[in-house]
Each structure stands twice: as C-alpha cells, then as structure tokens.
Amino acid sequence: MSASEPTGAQPAPARPRAAGAAATIRAGRQQACRPYPRFLLEAGQWRGLVVALRDDPTLELLGLWAEAGLVHAAFHQPNEGLLLASVAVAERHYPALSPVRPGAIRFERMVHDLWGHVAEGGTDARPWLDHGRWAASAPMSARPPAVTTPPPQPEFLGAEGEGVHQIQVGPVHAGVIEPAHFRFHVQGETVVRLEARLGYLHKGTLALMLGKSPRLAARFAARLSGDSTVAHSWAFATAAEQALGVVVPPRAVLLRAIAAELERLHNHLNDWGAVCGDASFVWPQARCGVLREGVLRAAALAFGHRLMMDLVVPGGVARDLAPGGTAAIRAALAAVAQELPGLQRVYESHASLQDRVVTTGTLAPALAAAFAAGGFVGRASGRGFDCRKLPGYAPYNTMAFTVPVQVAGDVDARLQVRMAELHQSLALVESLLARLAPGPLKLDLPQAGGEGVGLVESFRGEALHWMQLDDGGLIRAVFLRDPSWLQWPLLEAAIEGNIVADFPLCNKSFNCSYSGVDL
C-alpha cells in the first residue's frame, strides 16, 4: 500500500473534500476523555471520515465498539498517539468503516451482535459473537428482542476449484486449547482458505461490568484473557485512573511493570517452546517448561498468585512484594538468562526444525500494516509499534530498551522477535527491581464521573481499554480490546498456501487469544 500525506486537499470532484483523516476527526466536538481526546462527529462528518481514511492510510484503526445510541472508534496516529471518534446511531444505523479499514469487519459484526447497531455499507454482515443461542439478541441494547428461532447454521466463505474440499475442526480441539471452529478449504495438502469462527467463549463480560465501580469490575478485566491478566488489569486500571485524574504511587507503578514483564517472560517462554514442540522438536519445549515454571513459582512467592491475577487494581496494586520475592524473581530470571543462548543455538543449528519454521506462515508487511497488527505478529512483519515506547507510559518512558523488529514475517521471524523480547524483559525486570523504594501501594478512587483510556503492552500487543464513569463513579460504558482482534484475521492470511500439517505451528506462532476477543 502506498502512503499518502495526511495534509492538504486532494482533488476529488465526485465525493466530499478529502482532508487528512485525523483533521476530519478533530473537526468534531471534543469530549472530555483523558489522556487522548474523543471527538463526537455528525453523521456527515463521519461519512467524510470514511472518505478521508480511504485516502489516508497512515491513520490506523485500533478498535471499534459501541454503547446504546453511539459508536466509538479508536485510531492511532503514528508518533502522535491515540485519537477517538464517535458518531450517533441513527435508526440503528451508522456508516461502516470496514470498506476502508479491513480490521473493522469483526468489530462491526460484534457491535451488531451486542448492541444491534448496523454498519451501513459494511463488507460482512454475518453474525459473530451471537450464535443464536442467547435468550435475546442484541443483549446490550435498550430492549433486547427475544429469540424464538433455533440457532442458524453458520455461513462460511467458499473456495472453488478442482479437488477443493473442506476440513472442519472444532470447537472442541485435540489439544488443551481454547474453543473455536476452523473451516479449511484445501486442495491436496495446501490450504486455499481458512476461516475461523469464534464466539464460543462469549461470557457477556461487558454487560456484567456496567453499573459497577472500577474496583469491583477489575476482576472482569483480569479474566478477559488469563494469560494477559496483568496487562489487561493494568490497562483497565489506567483507564479508570485517567478518568478520575488519579496518579498512582511510584512503588505501585514499578510493581505493575515487574509483574507485566514476568507475564511477558512466562508467555514468551511457553510459546517459544511450544512452537518447537509443534514441529515435533521437544527438547526446547521441555527446557522452556522448566524455566517458565520457575518464573511462575517466583511470581507466586512474590505476589501470591502464579499468574498474578487481581494484583493490579484501579488506584495501585493489591499486594506488596512478599519478603523473599525479589530474591526468588532474581533466581528464576538468572536461570532463564543462563539458558537462553543455548536454546537459541540449538534452535538455529537443527535443520529439521529450521525447515519447519523458516518461510512457514508468512505474513506480508503490507497486511500487518493494513490491520495495524500489534505485538510480535506486527513486529515480525515490519510494524515496530510497541506502546511501551510510543506513546509510552510510566515507568517505561524513563527506561532504556529496544523494540526488536523483523521483516520476514514467517514463524521464524515471530520466534526471533520473542527471543529478543525475552532478553529485553530480563534486563527490564532487573532495573525495575533495583529502582524499588518503600512507599504506598494504592490510592482510594474518588466517586466521580469521567472518561479515560488505558493502553498497555501485553505480551501479544497493546491492550486498549476505555471506560466512562457516571457521577457516582460507576461504569456507564466500557470496552476492553485485546490485541488479538487485529491478529486473528491475519492468521487466515498467513496460513494460505501452507500445508494443513503446519497449521498448529502457524497458529501457535500467532497465539491469538480466543477468550480475549469473545468477550
């Protein structure tokens, strides 16, 4: 895709004037949202935004969600930060963004299924989270209509050609893994098309959070995706703190970051080993299992829970580092540091393993950019976005670390990025521990209204949380966006042309969250 400058009017006689997309958003009425502004656009302005987005590929769509009567979208302006835009829903309809931002497709399907708002001109109107099994459809709308018909058969996108046949997998899989249905169209051994159908894990998380205080609702954010419980809890807490103008004590900030880096370490170790295991090369997986177990036990000793669930709460952290915690963390990480170089050498020196991972599951950089893929999926395909760096947040904005980027986009590149990130995290934890000084852990939150956004880098990519509090300090509207929203569609692209037997390898190298997007 070609990058065009976001400034200046381009001649476009047959359609509205194409201003820069960011400028189009800023022309709306600014709402009180912190730290990133939200602009309420008239329907005409929103249509202008669709045109501007088509002409201006630099403004990245990070998320789209809704509440009764409104649809919200979050955009990222490279090097500038986030920009939020909203439009009122008119007679259940709003102009779709999916024709100009393919990442919007699944959000639009989700918004329809939860709130009943229809994306006018959208490129895919099939249901997503709603499998026809709830008592009422559009359960988050003002008056959800009762469902009286049996669940419909799902529709899948087709593929035609000589010898093309289908393989249906799931929702119950062969391994210990979350449920989803994968519909493969294959020709011989080659995957022609993959389509994932998710939604099996939909728990109604967003609806459960409404009317609760941020402190009470934090346990839902902590259980959006268990493997990123720290990052999601942190993003959620940040949104609440921003809404209320609360500044967290320094010790709590450092403890949050220590927990977040331990989480990155245990997940990277797990997946790095598991990808090798999926290529039937089990030694690295066995060693990574031991190292990861060491990290989890250190986390349990230091923070009282192996996955560090419910540690990060709005206002600070729930628990202090236990006595002996620092030593346990240092010992576990020393073991990891000692073994990583050997693991990498074994990985690189075995042709049977390299043969499986190099040039397998390649994600083209143009696609990663078009979908604004975050995390190691984006960074292995040339998109070097890491929200710890830019826009940046405490304590990372005062720390030295690099963001590894590769361009090959294959399974190998994703593993290389994760190995490099393991080294970065080891160093980060060490300097975070060294900075710890005694101090308070938590502040009480005022019972007041406000609106805030939290952006925190999970091991998968940026977790983006938004919330609006009413005057009593209770949640009026909320959205928790896992990074997997923008990575799942790319897995479908990356597997194309690969053999079916490499799907587990490709899937694990992405490791998208199922629960995180099923809400």
Partner: protein, 174 residues
Amino acid sequence: MLWPRLAKALFSRPVTDAPPAVPDVVVEALVQRLEAAGQARLGRSLAIRQVDCGSCNGCELEISALGNVVYDLERFGLKFVASPRHADVLLVTGPLTRNMRQALERTWACTPEPKWLVAVGDCATDGGVFKGSYAIEGGIGEALPVDLVIPGCPPTPTQLLEGLLALLEAQASG
C-alpha cells in the same frame, strides 16, 4: 549442540516434583460413589480429554503445565488424549457458555462408559465471577452430572494433580 545437553540430563537429578499427597476424604467419597455406580475397574490409568467451555484460558495454562517435566503427569498413568472417544475423563473448565453447551453435550455423548466428569476452576463450579450473565449456563453441573470439582481461580497444577490422583486412587480401589 543438542546431544551433549541430552547426555548431561541423563546424569543429573530430575527436576520433577514429588507427587502431592491425596486427601483421604476425597478418595473415600469417590470410592463410595464409584462402588454405588458399580462401574468396571479400568486399572491405574486415565485418559483425559480437556474441554474449555468459557474459561479465560487461565485454567488451560495450569492444565497445560501439568504436562511439563516438573509435574510430569504421565508418570501417574494420566494422559491427555486427542479425542473424547479415547477418554475416561472429561476435564471441563469455564462457566459453560450458552455457545458451548451443545458442543460439550456432544463431546460427553462421544465419551465411552464408564466415564467421569471433572469440573475445573471456580467458573466451572458455579459460574464464578460470571454468575448471572445472559451468556452462560452457570457451571458445568447445569448441563451434565459432575463427579469431582477442583476449585480455584485457576487451581494450581498441584491442586489439579491432587484432584486427578484422588480420582485415580478411587478408581483403583473401586
């Protein structure tokens, strides 16, 4: 090189933990239920099929950890199998979402008798924090008869191992 590392591992102490003690009360209760049901003895081995019915994946992380060399599940005769048709036990997590109910029921129907159903985690017990949601049934027991509950959010691998060993002991003495 890999070979020197493998050779070294042969002569070093194993990293595998000692097995946890099995609570007598749990075994006793399970033995009685097994006898009451008059089910055939399967021998000291259980094949397990895991089914996620709405978990946040925290339970799956800890269940997966059972397979690492530190917990080494297979030394107890416990192993995860790829199909419910090969399984003695369904290990089920999550508050049972409405979208997963039918898949779970079909998986259970595919599992040959005699079979056990173990609900893992607070969500599987009664819906956990998701209690009251429009999208869930509120625990695995809402759809199928549960033989054993292993609570926790998520239960640790050691707690999971205790529960599964109790099941194994009950089966061996049944």
